[in-house]
């Protein structure tokens, strides 16, 4: 809840800047609100941004709990998404209920593997996960591009994207959420994301494994003294983190597009960091934080259309200020607690 203060401070500064740019800040604010929740169509789009942000926020939050900083959610989701598309294209004959499950499982597996690499390197070689995950982001982008453009390209389009997955892999016909929000990419994976968030909450707070993971994050040396295997936690938490980011494959490939499009993600993996911060790494909080950031992302896109001075780049500035507000609040709190600790 405390993070909301940072959010509002950031929003306030951002609106103040629009005022100096010659816009009426209340007007800007009302556009943001209307654009996010104004109609079923707008809400659907907001939800379609929310879903991948829940997955990425969870991914970052879990790694934070273990004392790791997963900056690689972007790479993990990219690998997972291209995997889901590849399975859907290469095995078109798999019958319906199994097909999406197979593709999703494969996506989670590859996402998890992409998280496993930095976790394993950290455990065995002591390489810092931030550096490794950043590098893996580039490798993932390159690999996915190569697969999408050279191995399974969409020959009917000049867009950089894969061919469509077989129809057996799409669950649109059974998708209630997609029916509520027609013409938008919102789909049932929103429900899946919420379910997984609740599941992660249980795992983190109610299980022994979750306790070990948090202990490692709170004080790795003490956790090791208490008989918790550092390497096991490092590797497992990064695998889980990667799998969570891989969940994006469900919402983006299997749920809506039906194909992998190069550049489909507006840096979900990085916005996920802000989501996790905003939620204070609480999995349930991640749902709401993702919704907020999703609404903001959607609203910012519309500012470009609705106003004369606020362009695409300006709306990024607004987003940046809000993230800065949240991060600043977190940092301030950190400073305050560490000062109390000193006393």
């Amino acid at each position: 809840m405390k993070r909301l203060i940072g959010l509002f401070v950031g929003l306030f500064i951002a609106l103040l800047i629009t005022f100096f740019a010659g816009e009426n800040p209340f007007h800007i604010f009302s556009i943001l609100i209307k654009s996010a929740f104004g109609s079923m169509y707008d809400l659907g789009l907001t939800l379609s941004y929310t879903t991948p942000l829940i997955f990425c926020g969870l991914s970052v939050a879990v790694s934070f709990h273990a004392g790791l900083f997963n900056v690689g959610a972007e790479g993990q989701l990219t690998m997972a998404a291209i995997t889901a598309a590849a399975v859907g294209i290469l095995f078109p004959q798999v019958p319906f209920p199994f097909a999406p499950i197979l593709a999703f499982t494969a996506a989670l597996f590859v996402g998890g593997f992409w998280g496993f690499i930095p976790g394993w390197l950290r455990a065995v070689r002591g390489s810092h996960e931030v550096i490794i995950t950043i590098m893996l982001n580039f490798i993932a982008a390159g690999t996915a591009n190569w697969l999408a453009l050279k191995v399974i390209p969409n020959l009917n389009s000049q867009n950089p994207e894969t061919a469509m997955v077989s129809n057996n892999y799409l669950f649109k016909d059974y998708d209630l959420i997609a029916r509520i929000f027609p013409d938008t990419p919102a789909n049932a994976s929103f429900g899946v994301a919420i379910f997984i968030a609740v599941l992660m909450w249980i795992i983190i707070w109610k299980t022994t494994f979750g306790f070990e993971l948090r202990a490692m994050g709170a004080n790795s040396e003490a956790a090791q003294r208490a008989g918790i295997s550092k390497n096991k936690i490092l590797v497992l938490s990064m695998i889980i983190s990667g799998m969570l980011a891989g969940g994006v494959a469900l919402s983006e490939v299997l749920g809506s597009a039906g194909q992998y499009r190069v550049g489909f993600s507006p840096d979900y993996g990085f916005i996920g960091i802000a989501v996790a911060l905003l939620a204070n790494n609480n999995p349930i909080g991640v749902i709401f934080a993702a919704f907020l950031m999703g609404a903001l992302h959607k609203g910012a896109a519309d500012l470009d259309m609705e106003t004369t001075t606020i362009t695409r780049d300006f709306s990024r500035i607004i987003q940046a200020f809000i993230i800065l507000g949240v991060a600043g609040q977190a940092y301030w709190e950190h400073l305050r607690t560490s000062r109390i600790r000193k006393n």
Binding site: K206, T207, T208, F209, F211, E212, R214, A215, A218, N219, E221, A222, A223, Q224, R225, A226, G227, I228, T337, I340, R341, N343
Partner: protein
């Protein structure tokens, strides 16, 4: 009280949030004396000194220096009033030379050009006058702890300070170095300086100070002339009740059982090494390891607890523990707890594998809470709130929890590394008694401590670790502060019954 008060506290109060750290603190210090500030951890003595040094601003009350009220906004104001402070943790730049570290401290050094040779000559003169001679061209990392401390004091003296505040200055020194320090402090006193020394070691207070102010729970209990008081009285004033020392042990070591056996142990980690370590611990026995910090204690602890974590290349020898083992970490905040997590989770830490606290993959929180509450009650941990973040507890209560956690598992072997570091007298007493009780129930204890007093009260045998080797062994009947202290300083003592030699 003779002479003019150079420092006067008049009803000074300060609080952090809900916690009142100092309330209505009033006392005065005469010029040209050594004044002890004693109290348990969290009694508010450091807070009061930090106010004096300008690190905190008092909420209420007045501080007078030479009868003139002052209100320091920062330590720079305090330095201008010729007050200097040596912190418990030295504020030195490791990679620079001693001279550079002093020059860094000079007023306006950021913008002015200082003549190094002149400054050096000037400083050497000061050093000579007060007997704080050090090698000004040596790098800090090459200086001994005692020399570093002399440097810290010299930093203050170079500013012509008249009032020196020393925060727990003896915690890191060998007995010999302590003697040297006290000698020098007496010399400073004779030069007319006023010295405030924060400590919880009453013996030092008795031997060094002229007068002493006792803090308890944020308040000043009394100020006494040292020569008119005695150890027992001061201890009682500090703790607030009489301390009961238990009778000497009634049981003998159970030599039929060996709970720990270490043979031919060689290990290395970073810069610390141990060589040819051989010893054992019997049941119902407390074996103490004495030694100045940095002589291989850390690697010894690592070898016993977590030898898998060490590089195989750097480890050879045999360590065998029979039965269950628990350990008190030498640095509880670093190795023993999750500072930001609640008390109950910290109690659970290390016991997370026990069947009684688990139900499949889930934790049984109600069970854990029940056990935590019991431990809080039995060990008198305050405040009695199992949901409070661990770091909000005072040092003594933190350590009590760590001890409670370890001993509630009824272990066969207890590795107690610095079990009472930074803990107040009441808690020290309590923890010592718990260790004795565990011993009497059959456990073997390996006690690693930098407090010679503690080792001598508890141990049946004391081994002295110096530069990674055991250089002496003492049995209880031969315990003597002088010989053990000498051994800690590297003087080899040939003892008749040194079984390991």
């Amino acid at each position: 009280m003779n002479g003019n008060p150079i420092i006067e506290f008049q009803g000074v109060s300060i609080s952090f949030g809900d916690i009142s750290a100092n309330s209505e603190v009033s006392f005065s210090v005469s010029a040209g004396t050594i004044h002890g500030i004693i109290g348990e951890n969290g009694a508010g003595k450091s807070t009061a000194m930090n106010i004096l040094f300008g690190l905190y601003l008092a909420d209420q009350g007045k501080v007078l220096i030479k009868g003139k009220p002052v209100r320091f906004q920062s330590s720079i104001d305090a330095m201008n009033e010729k007050i200097g402070m040596v912190h418990q943790h030295f504020m030195l730049a490791e990679t620079l030379t001693a001279l550079d570290n002093i020059l860094l401290y000079q007023k306006g050094s950021a913008f002015s050009i200082l003549r190094r040779d002149e400054q050096k000559k000037h400083l050497e003169a000061i050093a000579k006058r007060f007997g704080f001679e050090i090698d000004f061209d040596a790098k800090i990392s090459e200086l001994s702890v005692g020399a570093q401390q002399r440097l810290e004091i010299l930093k203050i003296l170079s500013q012509d300070s008249e009032i020196l505040i020393l925060d727990e200055p003896t915690a890191v020194l060998t007995p010999q170095e302590v003697q040297d320090l006290f000698c020098n402090l007496q010399k400073l006193k004779s030069e007319g300086k006023t010295i405030l020394i924060i400590t919880h070691k009453l013996k030092e207070v008795m031997s060094l100070t002229d007068s002493v102010t006792v803090f308890r729970a944020g308040k000043v209990i009394t100020t006494k002339v040292t020569s008119e008081s005695n150890l027992a009285e001061l201890a009682e004033l500090m703790v607030g009740h009489r301390l009961v020392t238990p009778q000497e042990r009634s049981t003998a070591a159970d030599s039929s059982q060996t709970v720990l056996r270490v043979s031919n142990l060689n290990a290395q980690m970073n810069s610390s090494k141990i060589h040819d370590i051989n010893f054992h611990v019997h049941g119902k026995e407390i074996v103490g390891i004495a030694g100045v910090e940095g002589n291989g204690q850390d690697i010894l602890v690592r070898s016993l607890i977590d030898k898998q974590g060490l590089n195989k290349k750097n480890f050879s020898g045999e360590v065998s523990v029979s039965g269950t083992m628990v350990s008190f970490p030498e640095d509880r905040l670093r190795f023993g707890c999750l500072p930001s997590r609640p008390v109950w989770e910290n109690f659970f830490l290390g016991q997370q594998g026990l069947a009684k606290f688990n139900w499949g993959p889930f934790i049984r929180k109600t069970e854990i809470l029940k056990s935590t509450k019991r431990a809080i009650e039995n060990y008198d941990i305050r405040p009695t709130n199992e949901f409070l973040p661990f770091e909000k507890l005072s040092g003594g209560n933190q350590q009590k929890l760590v001890v409670a956690r370890a001993l509630s598992q009824n272990p066969h072997f207890i590795l107690a590394a610095q079990p009472t570091r930074g803990v107040d007298i009441g808690a020290i007493h309590f923890i010592h008694n718990e260790l004795r009780a565990a011993r009497d129930h059959g456990a073997g204890v390996l006690l690693i401590s930098s407090e010679l007093d503690e080792l001598m009260t508890l141990s049946d045998r004391i081994l002295v670790l110096y530069k990674g080797r055991f250089i002496a062994e003492f049995h209880r009947e031969n315990f003597s502060e002088i010989t053990i202290g000498a051994a800690m300083g590297g003087v080899e003592v040939i003892t008749k019954n040194a079984e390991f030699l």
